[in-house]
């Protein structure tokens, strides 16, 4: 099953308590960093590790940290993005719920590296039960002298707070998150200035995903060079994958980056194959906003090589024949699923979640939802497919934040790989809207 960095002790009874967590080596990195390393040395280790942002964008974490402005007399902030809302992603919720101290340890070590004395965990409001778990663990950490003034006698001070959102996908975008954390509507900010210069309360701020922060303690304990040996190429380390959809064993799996996709889907160590003895039809490998790939292109690249669970391999072929690792939300479709219906569902999601600030996104997502709805329900027009492609193109790249792209990509990809299925819905609305009807490559077999 490969090396476990984040989940090694996740099944130990009582691991959510400070006592058991410490018994299994917890908080060692705080001790090591605060007592034997300078903040700069911690940043260097993270740079060497090659760790990349686990929230979806995959940006090198050490580099992001090194951009942080450090003007004299101005506070700096570390904000943990626990606003996990990308459809298909549930790894952070699962991890925080089961191993809350791991996040707190990562926050302390990372805050020290960045010179932050107050840090926040912004968690989606729907996860109030996880907020309670985190607050309980934070209280334990304060009582043990791991948070507050003069942590472990090192002279370093840190306050850590958890803040709930209110139900808005957009707040996973880092500048919308900061707006929300300041008690405002989650409208993304124009960049520049970037959060590293003007973030929370107009102060220099780093925003990192839960899983990213949780990887830092291992790197501090074992060195960045050791972390960089795990994984494949520029995809270093391990990744939590949220596996969902029509598989036998949905759940969260920690993998060493580089596991073949075929093994991940069919091995009993992971998804355990397609449920109900059915065939694989397609996979969305990195959360609802990344391109969907049909069976042949998810198992092999266009060049015929095995597709691997890594940043590089999943994006091999660009958006023509590839996709993205994204947040590691691996959504599997069996042969009974309708691609048009699913695409409409996601379009509705993005329309619902658009903050409304930029017209191409606010209007365009609504158009796509409406057009896809009429195709799915048997009222599509011949020119609708081209219309969808055109609307998607006009949203992409024309908005303040990436929600516009996230809405456009799945529509464009579904049409690129499953155009026949859309045409079938338009040409044969009666057949396509019959209960339980699914396209099985019969576009020309049906006589109207």
């Amino acid at each position: 099953m490969g090396l476990k960095i984040l989940t090694e002790h996740i099944n130990v009874p009582g691991i959510e308590t400070l006592e058991v967590y410490r018994k299994h080596g917890g908080y060692k990195s705080v001790e090591k960093a605060l007592k034997t390393m300078t903040p700069e040395e911690v940043v260097e280790e993270v740079k060497t590790s090659g760790l990349r942002g686990r929230g979806g964008a995959g940006f090198p974490t050490g580099m992001k940290w090194s951009f942080l402005a450090k003007p004299e007399g101005v506070p700096r902030y570390l904000v943990c993005n626990a606003d996990e809302s990308e459809p298909g992603t549930f790894k952070d919720r699962w991890y925080m719920e089961n191993n809350p101290h791991a996040l707190i340890e990562g926050m302390i070590t990372s805050s020290y590296a960045l010179g932050a004395n107050t840090s926040y965990i912004y968690i989606r409001g729907e996860l109030m039960f996880v907020l309670r778990i985190l607050e309980k663990a934070i209280a334990e950490a304060y009582a043990a002298g791991l948070l507050g003034k003069n942590i472990l006698g090192s002279g370093y001070n840190l306050d850590l707070h958890v803040a709930p959102g209110g139900g808005a996908y957009i707040c996973g975008e880092e500048t919308a998150l900061l707006e929300s954390l300041e008690g405002k509507r989650g409208n993304p900010r124009n960049k520049p200035p970037f959060p590293a210069v003007k973030g929370l309360f107009q102060s220099p701020t780093v925003v990192n995903n839960v899983e990213t922060i949780c990887a830092v303690p291992w790197i501090v304990n074992n060195t960045g060079a050791e972390y960089a040996k795990i994984g494949i190429g520029r995809s270093t380390g391990t990744k939590l994958i949220s596996a969902s959809g029509n598989i036998n064993k949905p759940g969260v799996y920690e993998i060493e980056l580089g596991v073949p996709v075929e093994e991940f889907i069919y091995s009993d160590a992971y998804c355990g194959g397609i449920w109900k003895g059915r065939e694989l039809k397609a996979v969305v490998p990195g959360g609802s906003s990344v391109p969907i790939l049909p069976k042949n292109l998810i198992l092999k690249t266009a060049a015929g090589e095995d597709r691997l669970m890594s940043y590089e391999s999943l994006s091999d072929g660009g958006f023509v024949t590839g996709s993205m690792l994204g947040s590691g939300a691996f959504i599997v479709f069996d042969e009974e699923q309708c691609i048009v219906r699913n695409t409409w569902n996601y379009a509705r999601f993005y329309h619902h979640e658009s903050c409304g600030q930029c017209s191409p996104c606010r209007e365009g997502t609504g158009w796509m939802e409406k057009v896809l709805h009429r195709i799915e329900y048997g009222h599509g027009h011949q020119q609708d497919i081209d219309l969808l492609v055109s609307v998607a193109k006009q949203i992409e790249g024309n908005t303040i934040c990436p929600l516009g792209d996230a809405a456009a990509w799945p529509v464009a990809a579904a049409i690129r790989h499953f155009r026949d299925e859309f045409e079938w819905h338009i040409k044969y609305p009666k057949e396509a809207t019959a209960p339980g009807a699914v396209y099985r490559g019969q576009l020309d077999a049906v006589t109207a």
């Binding site: 039960f129 139900g167 996908y169 929300s180 949905p250």
Partner: protein, 177 residues
């Protein structure tokens, strides 16, 4: 003549919890506590936030009421109209649909004899489809207040769930204990 609104009074426990959140932010940034305060108000006031409750929050934070309204209307978790005793927030997004979310919503509509957004005649349940709740591996699922109810893929599971909810009181929030 303008209607005189009844002023809302929060309990001591709720006020203490609100002050705790306010204390997490720097001087002059007390508005940052707005979202948690709306959650606290909603939990205390029967699952929704009235204009009077929002005005009270504005007063506590020393901000304009419009600053509270614009936030409360942006975020989907805040109910701005009265709701049933249990608000069933059913995930309707893609990954749950692959495991039967559309069927779950249809079953609930049929059994409770309501449409989306409506409250059952006995005032017990409000049906509120929502977007992805980060529980895709255990779908179809729904949320009531702070808790998740998962793997509701069969009619039998739905029946058991509804029967249990009919006899269930809400958990007291940690801060009110």
């Amino acid at each position: 003549m303008a209607e005189i609104l009844n002023e809302v009074q929060f309990s001591d426990a709720a006020m203490a919890e609100m002050q705790r959140y306010i204390s997490h932010y720097p001087e002059g940034r007390q508005k940052s506590a707005l979202l948690p305060m709306l959650h606290i108000a909603q939990a205390e006031l029967g699952g929704w936030v009235s204009p009077e409750a929002m005005d009270k929050i504005a007063e506590i934070l020393n901000i304009q009421p419009i600053e509270v309204y614009e936030v409360a209307t942006f975020y989907t978790m805040f109910n701005l109209k009265p709701v049933g005793k249990h608000v069933l927030e059913v995930c309707r997004t893609g990954p749950c649909c692959l495991r039967g979310a559309d069927e779950l919503i249809d079953t609930l509509k049929r059994k409770l004899n309501i449409e989306e957004g409506e409250t059952s005649a006995d005032g017990m349940f409000t049906l509120k489809p929502v977007e992805c709740l980060a529980s895709c591996g255990t779908g179809p699922m729904l949320q009531v207040r702070e808790l998740f109810y998962e793997n509701l893929g069969s009619e039998q599971r739905v029946d058991e769930f509804l029967e249990m909810m009919r006899h269930k009181e809400h958990e007291t929030p940690t801060w009110a204990k």
